[in-house]
Amino acid sequence: MSVAARGIGLTLGDREILRAVDFDARPGEVTAIVGPNGSGKTTLLRALTGELAARGEVTLNGVPVAARNATALALQRAVLPQAARLAFPFKVIEVVRMGLRAGPHARRPQLAERALAAVGLGGYGGRFHQELSGGEQQRMHLARVLCQVWEPVLDGRPCWLFLDEPVASLDIGHQLAVMGLARDYARQGGGVVAVMHDLNLTAMFADRVALMKAGRMLAQGPAPEVFTDALLGAAYGCALRANVAPEGPVPFILPQAAGLAHSP
């Protein structure tokens, strides 16, 4: 009962986007995929969700993703895209209900309001989606996705949230709230796979981190093991220093520039 990818490869034209990537995510954990721009994070996520047909094999809860149709997949996993442009003037609640209808909880209409409240948009249901700010729209789509797989565990099987940069256009308060939601979902037995850019947020909320570079998997493991000066430097091509706060084991990362992490 996990997400497992073996030997994932994808070539577009003469460019190799993913090269023999192995990836694992377990239910009960938040697994973050990090890496520089163009390293293949989103492409890997698209392969994991079944959106993209790639070489190799991806399994979701033990069954190959390629062997399932879209309807069956939608009952077990929901996907938040990096950006969703919605045509036509739907109201916020109508957008959220699209997720509700796709998942196993279509007969629980009250979940739409609860999902909106969970992302801090309680009372926004009657507004038009195009009138929300970018960050609010992102949270509206998160509510839609949450609604689709509301119960982290259903019939003894974990459900999965795949999030592509879920906090990209959010302020720090909402970043923490959204990552908290993801962690709670995992703590209740669901699985979360998130593509992330913010390494410090990742260190705070992810149980496991997958670090990618140029279409390859550089390292996978708990944040303290992956966020080392050497691995981060190799991935991002700049000097980064992983520090540990005195009060806990969570690392935080500072760039070694402008004297910010100057060692005497």
Binding site: R46, T49, G50, E51, N69, A70, T71, A72, L73, A74, L75, A78, V79, P81, A84, R85, L86, A87, F88, P89, F90, K91, V92, I93, E94, M98, G99, R101, A102, E113, G123, Y124, G125, G126, R127, F128, Q130, E131, Q148
Partner: protein
């Protein structure tokens, strides 16, 4: 813009959110009543002065209808009314499905060249049909023009989709420009066909190109009716899929929608409905853009109820356009395409003006 903002102020609570979908469903009944009234008007208004209501009253009281009344009502007006209903529904639903498929409210079979493609098929069938062996002509006779029009509209939708859509997103500018190119190309080939046609064919083509319900016969209804009804039934099944596609193809797939199957069904339904409508009534434009737009303003964009409402309102609107075409310069008749263009073209410009920032035009 203003309608959207006003509605926002009203609908912040939960009840108001649910109301829009319920309202759209309640509209089925109201629009069905409007359609019924339109049918009575269409049957009652005309050059001869025979009234459907009076005739029904006569029938109910056991009185026999005169020969003139029977001919006017059952051989002339009833097929015309039924044809108007079918064609109006076909064009409005085709517009709504295309707009859902292309993810923008400007996609209309007339504007983006699909009707022109169907027209080319129909013209080719009228002009070249005579070259078929006589035995074959007898066998395929009434079906040749509709089938050719269907082929023409299908090829046009597919071409348009391939040209204007990339990665599940449609460029509005590319779609409109491709529509212009498609219209020009089909227009040129159609012109060539007209040039090569004989006198009888020319008469058929002239009637046909202007767009009219005047040629409605029971035989045409027997051919077009089942195809249009089947296409409408297929289209109505697409409500959930088109809602999902409003988020883009990838998001629709994540919502469990079999995207490729839904797209194929949408294209087939549009091609069959538009192709058949064009084959029997010629070039009637703008129904496909006006009707879905009005309905979205009134009851929201949910394609489930929208597609049913579009069929009802499309039928009613075309019947009234036909009544107008019959009475404005009575006893002569205006081509109905002129009436729908006079109503529809300003609506098209209005949508364009309201949303030009959004389209980058």
């Amino acid at each position: 813009m203003s309608a959207a903002r006003e509605a926002t102020g009203r609908g912040a609570g939960r009840g108001a959110c649910g109301d829009r979908l319920e309202g759209a469903r309640r509209a089925h009944l109201w629009l069905a009543l409007v359609l019924l009234g339109s049918c009575v008007a269409s049957l009652s208004i005309g050059a001869s002065g025979t009234s459907a209501a009076a005739a029904l009253f006569k029938l109910a009281s056991g009185e026999a209808l005169s020969l003139t009344e029977r001919v006017v009502l059952f051989d002339i007006r009833l097929p015309r009314t039924l044809m108007g209903l079918l064609v109006g529904a076909a064009l409005a639903v085709s517009g709504a499905v295309m707009q859902g498929l292309f993810r923008n409210p400007l996609a209309d079979p007339g504007i983006v060249g699909v009707s022109a493609g169907a027209g080319l098929g129909a013209i080719a069938a009228i002009v070249l049909g005579g070259m078929l062996p006589v035995a074959l002509q007898g066998a395929v006779g009434p079906y040749l023009v509709p089938v050719a029009a269907f082929a023409g509209s299908w090829a046009s939708v597919v071409l348009l989709y391939v040209v204007a859509t990339r990665g599940g997103h449609t460029s509005v500018a590319t779609m409109l420009l491709a529509g212009i190119a498609l219209g020009a190309l089909t227009g040129a080939v159609s012109g060539l066909m007209v040039y090569a046609s004989d006198d009888q064919q020319l008469r058929d083509l002239t009637f046909w190109q202007m767009g009219s319900l005047g040629g409605a016969t029971w035989q045409k209804i027997a051919v077009a009716g089942p195809v249009i009804l089947l296409a409408l039934a297929g289209a109505v099944l697409l409500g959930h899929a088109l809602n999902g596609l409003a988020l883009g193809e990838a998001a629709a797939m994540h919502l469990g929608i079999p995207v490729q199957r839904a797209k194929r069904l949408a294209i087939l339904a549009v091609a069959a409905a538009t192709g058949t409508a064009v084959a029997v009534s010629g070039g009637i434009g703008f129904i496909g853009i006006v009707v879905p737009h009005l309905l979205r303003l009134a009851t929201g964009p949910d394609h489930g109820p929208l597609l049913i409402n579009a069929a009802l309102l499309g039928g009613a609107l075309l019947l009234w356009a036909d009544v107008a075409a019959r009475v404005v310069i009575a006893p002569a008749e205006l081509p109905i395409g002129i009436v729908t263009a006079v109503i529809g073209a300003p609506v098209f410009l209005w949508i364009l003006l309201r949303r030009r920032g959004e389209f980058g035009l």
